[in-house]
């Protein structure tokens, strides 16, 4: 079982990003995903900056993958995407079918991100035929759903052609909109956002009127209010999951990485906080918790 760091979903200043990835280089993580996946207006790091980080991390012994934008609406965003498709060195995580289109035309391998709708063995088989070498399961699917897909003949016949990865720690990306909710929370329109996401390094909390944390606003993305945390489910992933993904948080990401690594076989279970959840994996509502 390998561990990965997903792309940073929030908008952090350049120095914070560089410090974070320096820590990643020194950490026990196996795989690092780099790139802006949420909003094309966030340009603290440009393509060349990400490539520089990628080289640094590769030299530190990490497997590096690039990660593409999820909701692309403008021609300028497609031009930026083509830089990632044509980077020539690192495998790309496609978070939109636009990326798969470019990669497929060039016969390049790709990773299908969690926002690519692969819900069954037939879609999985077709994606593998297009060049998919790793599949990140949609966040809303359960252990049982994953086992069911992998148990079908269509998948088991090609199981050596792709790896499976599961989003296992952090606030889950749950929706993308044309509207920017962080700008809206400051009474601004998206066109006049003044890049206000940079003031919220872990997004903005949204609570119900009786105090339950329901969502986190992260620009055009809406995240789970609770932090997804499958640390205690790692033993149930044996034989199903090749790579366990941790999504970078402003604090504590590498401590949690170590806690995850210590509990692969269930030897060091963790007590979860009230704002952790694991419902999706257990086939419950995503915000629920269970054993």
């Amino acid at each position: 079982m390998k561990f990965s760091l997903g792309p940073v979903q929030y908008f952090w200043p350049k120095t914070q990003m560089q410090q974070f990835y320096q820590q990643a280089a020194d950490s026990a993580v196996d795989i690092v995903y780099l790139g802006e996946t949420v909003c094309s207006k966030r340009r603290e790091l440009k393509f060349n900056d990400y490539m520089a980080l990628a080289h640094m991390l590769r030299e530190a012994g990490k497997q590096v993958c690039l990660s593409s934008m999820t909701l692309l609406e403008a021609p300028s965003e497609l031009r930026e995407l083509s830089k990632y498709v044509d980077n020539g060195e690192f495998v790309l995580e496609a978070n939109d079918t636009s990326a798969i289109s470019g990669l497929q035309q060039k016969s390049l391998p790709f990773i299908a991100g969690a926002a690519i709708n692969c819900y069954n063995q037939h879609t999985l088989r077709r994606l593998v035929a297009m060049g998919m070498t790793r599949w990140v399961m949609p966040v809303e699917l359960s252990q049982q759903w994953l086992a069911s897909i992998l148990g079908q003949n269509e998948s088991s016949a090609i199981r050596d052609k792709f790896e499976t990865e599961v989003f296992a720690f952090g606030h889950m990306p749950l929706a993308w909109s044309g509207r920017c909710f962080t700008a809206r929370s400051e009474n601004r329109s998206k066109d006049q956002c003044e890049l206000c996401c940079i003031h919220y390094p872990q997004g903005r909390d949204v609570a119900s009127q009786d105090g339950t944390q329901v969502f986190v606003l992260n620009g055009i993305q809406t995240q789970s209010g609770y932090r997804y945390n499958l640390v205690n489910q790692l033993p149930s992933m044996q034989g199903l999951v090749d790579i366990v993904r941790l999504s970078p948080q402003p604090e504590g990401t590498f401590d949690w990485l170590n806690k995850f690594k210590a509990n692969i076989t269930g030897q060091a279970p963790q007590t979860l906080s009230k704002t952790d959840s694991n419902g999706y994996w257990l086939q419950l509502a995503g915000m629920a918790s269970g054993h």
């Binding site: 999820t70 909701l71 692309l72 609406e73 403008a74 021609p75 965003e77 497609l78 939109d96 079918t97 636009s98 990326a99 798969i100 289109s101 470019g102 497929q104 709708n117 692969c118 819900y119 069954n120 063995q121 037939h122 879609t123 077709r126 949609p138 966040v139 809303e140 759903w145 069911s148 148990g151 079908q152 889950m172 749950l174 929706a175 993308w176 909109s177 044309g178 509207r179 920017c180 909710f181 809206r184 929370s185 329109s189 998206k190 066109d191 949204v206 609570a207 119900s208 009127q209 009786d210 339950t212 329901v214 969502f215 606003l217 809406t222 419902g279 086939q283 509502a285 995503g286 915000m287």
Partner: protein
């Protein structure tokens, strides 16, 4: 420019055709479509009758099979495609790559449209889906009019846009908010904020709406209480309690009709397969009149006050918006 109307039942379908729809879209009575509600939709026999009725009137029948197939019951989606083609559907509206591929390979003569649930918002994403022989793309409700126009200019494929109805503010097919709260999402269960999870509670003068026990909104006596669709509730961010994502409002693009017409948008889709035949009748009548007016003289097109009044009265919270088509909404 086609007027494509919703029907959740045979009476709604007949009403739509009789009031001027060019085509009607429907779903089957199971989890293969994104409006999988009790008492709604068509079984095999009704589907055949629907196709006959529509064809007798020289109109077209679209069948939405636009959820994502489950691993253990892939056969349901396959059978849904077979059944729809067999019953005489003119068009299938599909989203799952596997279902698209199956339909393209087995029914090369059937017209396939890419469902809004496939979230194709740009030229390259549309190019990706062309390998499945699609002839039309239904655009998600996240694009501005400028972006719709840019797509119309850079694609040689037919485009369909949502013209009126409930407003999804997230890129459709990629929103898991509903399963986060209830375990059921449009992708997995064909429903958003399912009615089975809704609870209303009166607390003194306040009416509370809950979804799977999560408080979505509180209404004072003088407020109209709306269905607790989870993205349209009032929540607290920082010090403020407000509609953090979106107000309860409906999409209405009547004002954009001349532009949509000029840009060659092939079809205007009216949302609402879950609505009553009476609703379908009124909506269809207004949009038929509006489309006929714009076609007759696009330069002089004026939105009639009476159309707007009818549409407002049929809208969520009696409010309408241009949604993402209007840049400022974003």
């Amino acid at each position: 420019m086609e007027l494509l109307c919703p029907a959740g039942s045979m009476p709604a379908l007949k009403t739509a055709i009789e009031h001027g729809a060019d085509a009607v879209y429907i779903g089957l009575k199971d989890e293969t479509n994104a409006r999988h509600f009790a008492g709604l939709n068509f079984d095999k026999q009704q589907l055949t009758k629907a196709a006959q009725f529509v064809h007798q009137h020289g109109k077209k029948l679209h069948v939405a099979i636009n959820t994502f197939a489950h691993p253990d019951s892939w056969g349901h989606w396959q059978q849904a495609v077979d059944m729809a083609v067999d019953a005489g559907a003119d068009v299938l509206i599909l989203a799952d790559i596997a279902v698209l591929a199956y339909a393209a390979e087995h029914y090369p003569k059937t017209e396939l449209h890419l469902s809004v649930q496939a979230s194709a918002t740009n030229v390259a994403a549309i190019d990706f889906y062309r390998q499945f022989n699609i002839s039309r793309v239904v655009l998600p409700r996240v694009l501005s009019m400028q972006q719709v126009r840019a797509l119309a200019h850079s694609c040689d494929i037919d485009l369909e846009v949502f013209a009126f109805g409930s407003l999804c503010i997230m890129a459709e097919g990629r929103c898991y908010l509903s399963s986060y709260m209830t375990g059921q999402s449009p992708n997995t269960a064909g429903a958003c904020s399912p009615a089975a999870f809704v609870r209303w509670e009166e607390k003194g003068d306040i009416l509370e709406s809950r979804l799977n026990n999560i408080l979505i909104d509180r209404f004072a006596a003088n407020e109209t209480a709306g269905y607790p669709t989870l993205c349209k509730g009032r929540f607290t961010v920082g010090e403020d309690t407000y509609h953090a994502l979106e107000e309860p409002t409906s999409l209405n693009t009547l004002d954009l009709l001349p532009i949509l017409y000029k840009e060659g948008i092939r079809s205007l889709k009216i949302e609402g397969r879950q609505r009553s035949p009476a609703y379908v009748a009124q909506i269809t009548q207004v949009w038929r009149a509006a489309i006929d007016t714009v076609k007759a003289d696009p330069e002089r097109f004026m939105v009639q006050e009476q159309w707007q009044q009818t549409l407002s009265s049929l809208s969520e919270g009696s409010q309408t918006t241009l949604g993402a088509y209007h840049r400022k909404w974003k």
